[in-house]
Symmetry: C2
Subunit: 329 residues, 2 copies
Amino acid sequence: MPTIKLEDVAKLAGVSKTTVSRVLNHRGYLSQATIDKVNSAINELGYHPNIVARQLLKTKTNLIGILLPTISDPFFGELASLLEKKLYKKGYKVIIGNSTNDPDKEIDYLNQLLSKQVDGLIVGTHNQNIPEYKQKNLPIVAIDRIVNEDIPIIESDNYDGGKLATERLIENGAKRIIHTNVSQRESPMQKRRLGYEAVMELNDLESKTYIIDFDIPTTKKLNLLNQIFVENPNIDAIFAGNDTDAAYAMQVAQKRGISIPKDLLIIGYDGTELMRNVLPQLTTIVQPLDEMTELAVDLLESRMNGRDTRHEYIYPITIWEGSTDKRTN
Amino acid sequence: MPTIKLEDVAKLAGVSKTTVSRVLNHRGYLSQATIDKVNSAINELGYHPNIVARQLLKTKTNLIGILLPTISDPFFGELASLLEKKLYKKGYKVIIGNSTNDPDKEIDYLNQLLSKQVDGLIVGTHNQNIPEYKQKNLPIVAIDRIVNEDIPIIESDNYDGGKLATERLIENGAKRIIHTNVSQRESPMQKRRLGYEAVMELNDLESKTYIIDFDIPTTKKLNLLNQIFVENPNIDAIFAGNDTDAAYAMQVAQKRGISIPKDLLIIGYDGTELMRNVLPQLTTIVQPLDEMTELAVDLLESRMNGRDTRHEYIYPITIWEGSTDKRTN
């Protein structure tokens, strides 16, 4: 038997959900006739009021918060832009906070968004164990991050992406493949690394990952990438954890006189529209951002309406066929 | 004689500015001794309370709103990111709204930000004549847009940038130079066009500008860029109004078998860190974003403290020397 919902009570009583919620909470001005109608519908259906009834009473702000680790990276720019457009079309307004991968700052922004009484939150940041996320009654959906077990997460198949990129590079002759990733151990991005390491091990090759976080200055990124070439003079491929790393690595390599793809193969990750059009030669694992953001909005609405969702939603990745992953003699 | 400020009264009375403000507004719990001290300092200095005293009483939210036409373009991503970092360092938090170049949406977001009681607003959107901007007491600073005569605007020397790019292309042999720009007539970006048109006319060359707005879908941008080549088979150069247009034009040209810079010269505008590192071969006019955002934060603080500012601040541009602007036979 399906669970009886507040909607069912409203339907049977011939009143709105808000009215049912008011009757349940003894609030607002209601005629005795309405109260009786609602109560008899509740009895008839055997309805047990739950959290939803209370949530409906809360003043709706129609405001959704988005919390991201950075907005200067094209991936997060495109993510935020798609979410905002889809949410706005449904009547919500969106405010964006930028946490810069800093847990204190993330808590700060989180509290800010909560105090602005957002109806819901979409998070794409990477810091776990922030107690504010456990605040009951706040619907949250996570994209590409793990917050806690109550919060649904949407991600691309990071493990498969890592595997596919590494297999492709090995098939095309690479043996000394370096990977870049972020320092946050709880990020689903780590699955890209796990996929890479699994395939490397299977092929008796040595894994080596360099940490390049999102929101460090560009000069620092370029220095770290340069270090890869200094410390690994025999490197023959890079599987970059994101396209910005991949694009920057291409420039650093070229400055060192390393020709791509002749001397070095490169595969990136993300495949934003911007990167696919600015640097179409870069082969990259594509996250289906349009579908992922569509689902994020749907899930958030489900949570805001008190409906249950699954914990994890994984989207298959595809590959953008550029020319940086195959040697063309 | 310098104007006597509330700070001076506070200093002389040996109390905080808030206390002075409370005395002036007859609010809060104050001892008669304090009231007497403040009043005698006011008399001694000949202080005339002004708007500042009233503003200090307003509950500070330490929240700054940023309103942008898009966040998926690297220019606005970098702009928002720099502003956010600089503001956060000073103790503010930032919420970002994305207006998608849509006046209704801009009003919507503006009202949203106002209702969230932001202490100040930085706007980079392009829609003029929105009455909400005239709301008294809300400190606003504009970057690269004209809001109204009361609001200070920070911009790069767009006219000079347009001139420099066009002169460079002509020096390097181009004659049929197409420009891209946005449709908003009130955007300072139009000065890039005016600079281009002035130089073209001076050289007896025909100007032709194509409109490509920021927040249209990428496929539409690519179609518009393709149209440029269809309608102008003899085109020998493009001065793009921004780097995204320039980068996309390079890809469209290459797909049509047009070799850059052999058959076509290109110069862009913006010169973000991302683009300079992803596509260093693209010659582009660089806006000094770091300085511009630094000033935006300073100006906003001045306005929040009731101080006057100039109306317009124009930053000189520089050129990023790539290879797309000179024919290398």
